[in-house]
Every structure is written in structure tokens, then in C-alpha cells.
Amino acid sequence: MSESQNLTDRVKELIVRQLRLKIRPSDIKEDAMLFGGDMGLDSIDALELVVGIEKEFGVRIADQDVGEKVLRSVSAISRFLSEKGIS
């Protein structure tokens, strides 16, 4: 398993765990719109993900504009974390 695949899987697991979703991590498509689209998550879920990402990866998302870009999809979150040096 490549490092980026590993990170993607961790992000999916985090989403399911933090939001207590009744799906398997593997059910989440990497490019699925997390908010306002395929997954139907809301602004409180976004906040929970910000908390989860900080707890799991030690990376803080403080700005709403950054949040909107980063929390778009699993791949966007993974890319953001990679840029922050997380593998």
C-alpha cells in the first residue's frame, strides 16, 4: 500500500469515526463531495471534522476559506495533509 493510499484510508476512517456515520470507510469515494453533495454533510459535521483532523494529525484548520477548500473531498483533505508533511 502506498503512503498516499494509507493517508487516504486514514482520512476515510476518521470521517466515519468522527461523524459516527453508519457506513464503511471504503464506501466513501475519494472525490465525492462531502458537503452539499453526495454525502450530505452539514456545517456541524465540518466543525467535527476540523476537530478530528486536529486531534488525529495535529493540523489546525482555523480559516473558513481554507476549510471550504480542504473539506471538499477525501482527496482534498489528503492533499492538504500531504502538503503539511503528513504521510
Partner: protein, 149 residues
């Protein structure tokens, strides 16, 4: 901050105020408040007859009211709605005569949504603790603001 100032600051009115005094306020970060619980309070007639227990949900409400004051920009009247409560534990009943100390600290903010960790204590004992989030309806985010919308 005394009762009148709290009422001026919050959208709530009597008899739905669950903090009597704000002891410490660090705007945007944390707050500490107290609630004196007396046998006079009307809900004790039913919760429960002959066994007055301060409702746990009112402890959450007290945390949310304090959080509203903490999260509101200085000089602004907050209009927040409780949006989620997670992992809230009620560890010990609160009864008439207790002085409850409420502590909240902001753990995350994204647009108009804020998340707090809250704790209620009587003396040195924690009586409730957990996390909750609110949507500040008066702010730019709005209740329907999704991260991707």
C-alpha cells in the same frame, strides 16, 4: 458580569436564564459562570415531586448560554442556536442548595459554527461534562452554511 448585564447580552429572558453571574470571560476563548440552584425554582414541582433534581439538560443550556457570550464578538448580542451535543455525561445529581460552576472553552470555530468543551462542577466535583456545538445565526456563516456550499 451580573444578571442584568447577562440578560442584556443574551437573547434569552426570564425564567430561562441558567447563569446568574459570569465570573471570568475571555472573549472568543473561554468563560466561567455560576448558577445558584434554589428550591424556589418552578420546575422542581415536577422534576421530581418530593425529589428535586436540577434537570441535566439545563446544565447543557447553562453551558450553551455561557458559550453564546464567549463566542459573540465584543459588543454584539449573540444569537446562537444549539446544534449538537456529544459525549455529555451527567455524573452527579444537582439539587437545591448547590452552587454550580460552569466552565466552557472554545475548541473549534469554522465560519458561523463553533464547538465548545463544557464542564459543570459543584464544589470540587464534576457533575457534568461534554462537548457541544452552536451555530451563530447572527454571524456570516448562517445555519445552513456547509463547508462546501
Amino acid at each position: 458580569m451580573e444578571t442584568k448585564a447577562i440578560l442584556d447580552k443574551l437573547p434569552h429572558g426570564l425564567p430561562f436564564l441558567f447563569i446568574d453571574r459570569v465570573l471570568h470571560l475571555d472573549e472568543g476563548k473561554e468563560g466561567l459562570a455560576l448558577k445558584n440552584v434554589t428550591a424556589n425554582e418552578p420546575y422542581f414541582r415536577g422534576h421530581f415531586p418530593d425529589n428535586p433534581v436540577f434537570p441535566g439538560v439545563f446544565l447543557v443550556e447553562a453551558m450553551a448560554q455561557l458559550a453564546g457570550i464567549v463566542a459573540a464578538p465584543a459588543g454584539d448580542k449573540p444569537a446562537g442556536m444549539l446544534a449538537s451535543v456529544s459525549d455529555m455525561r451527567f455524573l452527579k445529581p444537582v439539587v437545591p442548595g448547590d452552587q454550580v460552576i460552569i466552565r466552557v472553552s472554545l475548541s473549534a470555530r469554522l465560519g458561523g459554527a463553533v464547538r465548545f468543551d463544557g464542564e459543570a462542577m459543584v464544589g470540587s466535583e464534576t457533575v457534568a461534562r461534554g462537548s457541544f456545538s452552536m451555530v451563530l445565526t447572527g454571524s456570516a456563516g448562517g445555519p445552513d452554511a456547509g463547508a462546501g456550499s
